[in-house]
């Protein structure tokens, strides 16, 4: 007894939440330091993003204390509608191993680490910007189920029906209805109406944010690549939770700086570094395991096809007559029809997107990562590999998870692939 009391006096016993925070801070800072110091000259404008992640994940800073926070479980919930109703969308997809471990007690051992981490994080109730409500599109099996599990922790979770095939006319109608219901529900909860004016302004604002992303992508098409793929992931990841105006301002600065860098011929990789298109399960901070290995192995990621990056920004909304329902319909179409998520019955659009990215970015190869347990990406591995083979595009498939182990084995495989691409390039010359 006494010895325990003594112990208590000396060290304040760490609560589970404190421990979780400490572990997460360690994970976060490790990645941030690698990005800041492990590579050749990150752009100065990147420090905004590094600091943001440090404040949020190492010092638990809340960003949206004065706003209603609307949690989303996948990208198919139109953030345009949330902003129009004066809420803040918070994407709850999570990349922490610490949270993955907490979630492991709640889900099957073989479940996807991303789902486990998201569930684990929410079950701990230890969130800096805690969502006031959560919308959960019924995308993959695990996310669909996770929604219900999360509601059992006491969150207000609303399922948003999402079709699993997208070619049919029924699916279009279905998702349009679904998004209409979503807007009615949200508008009811927020106590304000969607109007022509607020929705149009919001579409235009998100459109502008997207156009900044497109400009960043444009830089990566040329021979002189002024930014690392990992830094791009940081920028797009910040879009999950940052204040939109701040994000826009910081990204504008980054665009300007990159323009300057291009003029100065500043290439962030080596002269012969192979150019990679990254696809598969999304890298979400701080799980940049594979992207970091790739860019550590003297390759550079010039484009990606993932839902934590490209897929959030790529597609935009056009409307003929700017009535509220037309805007909603067009939003629904964009979030469904252009989506390249592998949950759909057919994976053709995703394959076409990857090939297009390889061609437009002059990539030398594709690296496809799937999380062990992320069934849909594992399933589609075959179709993508086959298609790439047909197109004569080199591709490497790797499975990984959130654990810090297996690093050595993964780097060996990536390095060998990068080496083979270099040899191929040399022989071509």
């Amino acid at each position: 007894m006494t010895s325990i009391q003594e112990h208590k006096q000396k060290h304040k016993i760490e609560t589970p939440n404190e421990k979780q925070n400490r572990h997460k801070a360690m994970e976060a800072i490790k990645v941030l330091n690698t990005l800041k110091e492990g590579f050749k000259e990150p752009p100065k404008a990147m420090s905004y993003f590094y600091d943001l992640f440090e404040e949020v994940y190492c010092h638990q800073k809340a960003l949206h204390t004065d706003k209603v926070k609307v949690g989303t479980m996948c990208i198919q919930i139109p953030s345009e509608i949330i902003y129009a109703l004066d809420g803040v969308p918070i994407r709850l997809c999570n990349g922490f191993y610490t949270d993955d471990e907490i979630g492991s007690d709640l889900l099957p051992q073989k479940a996807c680490p991303l789902v486990k981490a998201s569930v684990g994080h929410l079950s701990s109730k230890n969130l800096t910007d805690k969502p006031d409500m959560i919308y959960s599109p019924t995308t993959c099996d695990q996310k669909t189920k996770a929604g219900t599990l999360i509601s059992s922790f006491g969150y207000d979770v609303v399922d948003v029906d999402f079709p699993r095939t997208k070619e049919s006319e029924i699916s279009r109608e279905f998702f349009r209805r679904s998004i209409r219901d979503f807007s009615v529900d949200l508008s009811h909860k927020m106590g304000r109406k969607l109007t022509k004016k607020n929705l149009r302004a919001s579409i235009s604002k998100i459109g502008y944010a997207q156009s900044l992303y497109h400009r960043l992508s444009e830089f990566r098409k040329s021979k002189i690549v002024p930014i690392l793929g990992n830094d791009m992931f940081i920028v797009t990841n910040a879009f999950f939770f940052d204040k939109l105006d701040n994000w826009i301002e910081a990204t504008e600065k980054l665009v300007q700086e990159l323009e300057q860098r291009v003029k100065e011929n500043l290439h962030v990789a080596g002269k012969v570094s192979p150019r990679i298109v990254y696809t598969g399960s999304p890298p979400i901070f701080p799980n940049y395991k594979i992207p970091l290995i790739i860019e550590d192995s003297d390759a550079i990621i010039v484009a990606d096809e993932t839902c934590s990056s490209n897929r959030m920004f790529n597609d935009r909304v056009a409307v003929d007559e700017w009535f509220v329902n037309d805007m909603i319909d067009s939003l629904a179409d964009k979030y469904l029809k252009a989506c390249t998520c592998p949950v759909f019955s057919k994976n053709d659009d995703r394959i076409r997107r990857i090939i297009e990215l390889v061609r437009s970015h002059n990539a030398d190869g594709v690296i496809y990562q799937a999380f062990a347990g992320c069934t849909v990406y594992e399933l589609e591995q075959r179709s993508v590999l086959e298609a790439m083979e047909k197109e004569g595009i080199s591709i490497l498939y790797i499975e990984s998870d959130y654990s810090p182990s297996q690093h050595g084995q993964l780097s060996t495989r990536v390095e060998a692939f990068v080496e083979s691409l270099k040899i191929k390039n040399r022989n071509r010359k």
Partner: protein
């Protein structure tokens, strides 16, 4: 220099450009007669000669007249005249392809104006379901068959003279077009024969339907127009084409969302290069609304005259840097 010009074109405000061209064409084909302009009677548009002031005439009327000549005459020398008529029609047609509909036809333009009217009142447009669309889109071919077959039947004596220009009798343009130059005389039912009575009564109903339909549905009539069907038969021969590069298309559906004719292929077909469909009016709204560089393009011969671009898309959709906290002000209001 060339790339600069290209950029200007690709960034243009298509809606405004098109509105101006339509306005001028409308004036020409409704009031051109006042200035003694006449471009002949083989035009591939509904510039209806029942309006005496048009600067040219719809090809369907001479076509029906010629085809209704007695069979012996038609098979003799007069056949040449028919062929010559079709060639003249083709001559006009190949310059613009279906853009005659999207930019020149006064009857098409009039429908667009009814659309502006509806829009300004704040009423949302209606659409067909996919099922209705597939069924209804065949009607224009049935009407084209009436244009061609009824006169032939007159020619062989199977039908009487009162069936002459049968399609014109039911055509809503016959009734509505003269109205623009102050002539209301077509708003009647012709009681001279039973056939005329029925046909002109149908015409009145169609004219009424036209006005209501075009108010609620964009380009309501064009969807049923036999001229559009006739266009489609020759559309491959035109210098100008609508083309698509499927590899650049994301199937986002933006083009489909703005298409007045609800053409689904424009978004969903990623295989065909030639993407002009029978209902298309070549208005190019889809090209203007596509956010992918060069996914859709309007070609003159093989030259991309107007292409979809990211930049043009952003300009036209009003995607701009938000001013201050304009957004917040909106939502707080």
């Amino acid at each position: 220099m060339k790339s600069k010009l290209k950029r200007i074109i690709n960034n243009m405000n298509l809606a405004r450009v098109r509105f101006s061209i339509q306005l001028i064409s409308f004036a020409l084909f409704v009031y051109g007669g006042y200035f003694a302009i006449y471009l002949g009677s083989k035009l591939p548009i509904f510039a209806c000669p029942y309006n005496g002031k048009s600067a040219g005439a719809c090809f369907l009327i001479p076509l029906q007249h010629q085809l209704s000549m007695p069979a012996q005459i038609l098979l003799g020398g007069a056949g040449i005249a028919v062929i010559f008529g079709i060639l003249t029609f083709l001559f006009w047609f190949i310059f613009l392809n279906k853009a005659w509909c999207g930019y020149v036809c006064p009857f098409g333009t009039f429908q667009d104006w009814l659309t502006y009217l509806r829009k300004s009142i704040g009423i949302r447009y209606s659409t067909y379901t996919q099922h209705q669309f597939e069924k209804l889109s065949k009607i224009k071919y049935i009407l084209l068959a009436i244009v061609v077959l009824v006169p032939l039947l007159i020619g062989v004596g199977a039908l009487g003279g009162e069936w002459g220009a049968a399609f014109c009798q039911i055509c809503p343009a016959r009734i509505i077009s003269p109205t623009f130059s102050g002539d209301f005389s077509q708003w009647t039912i012709d009681f001279s024969t039973k056939t005329s009575m029925v046909l002109t009564a149908i015409g009145m109903v169609f004219a009424g339907l036209f006005l209501i339909g075009s108010f609620v549905k964009k380009r309501f009539f064009c969807f049923f127009c036999p001229m559009s069907a006739l266009h489609y038969i020759f559309s491959k021969f035109s210098f100008v084409q609508l083309r698509k590069d499927g590899s650049k298309c994301t199937r986002c559906g933006d083009c489909y969302a703005v298409c007045d004719m609800q053409i689904k292929d424009i978004a969903d077909d990623v295989v065909s290069t030639e993407i002009l469909r029978d209902d298309c009016i070549l208005c190019l709204k889809c090209v203007a609304a596509c956010p992918e560089d060069d996914a859709l393009h309007f070609d003159i011969f093989k030259l991309k005259a107007f292409s979809s671009t990211k930049e043009g898309f952003e300009k036209r959709m009003g995607i701009a840097k938000p001013k201050g906290d304009a957004h917040d002000k909106h939502t707080r209001a």
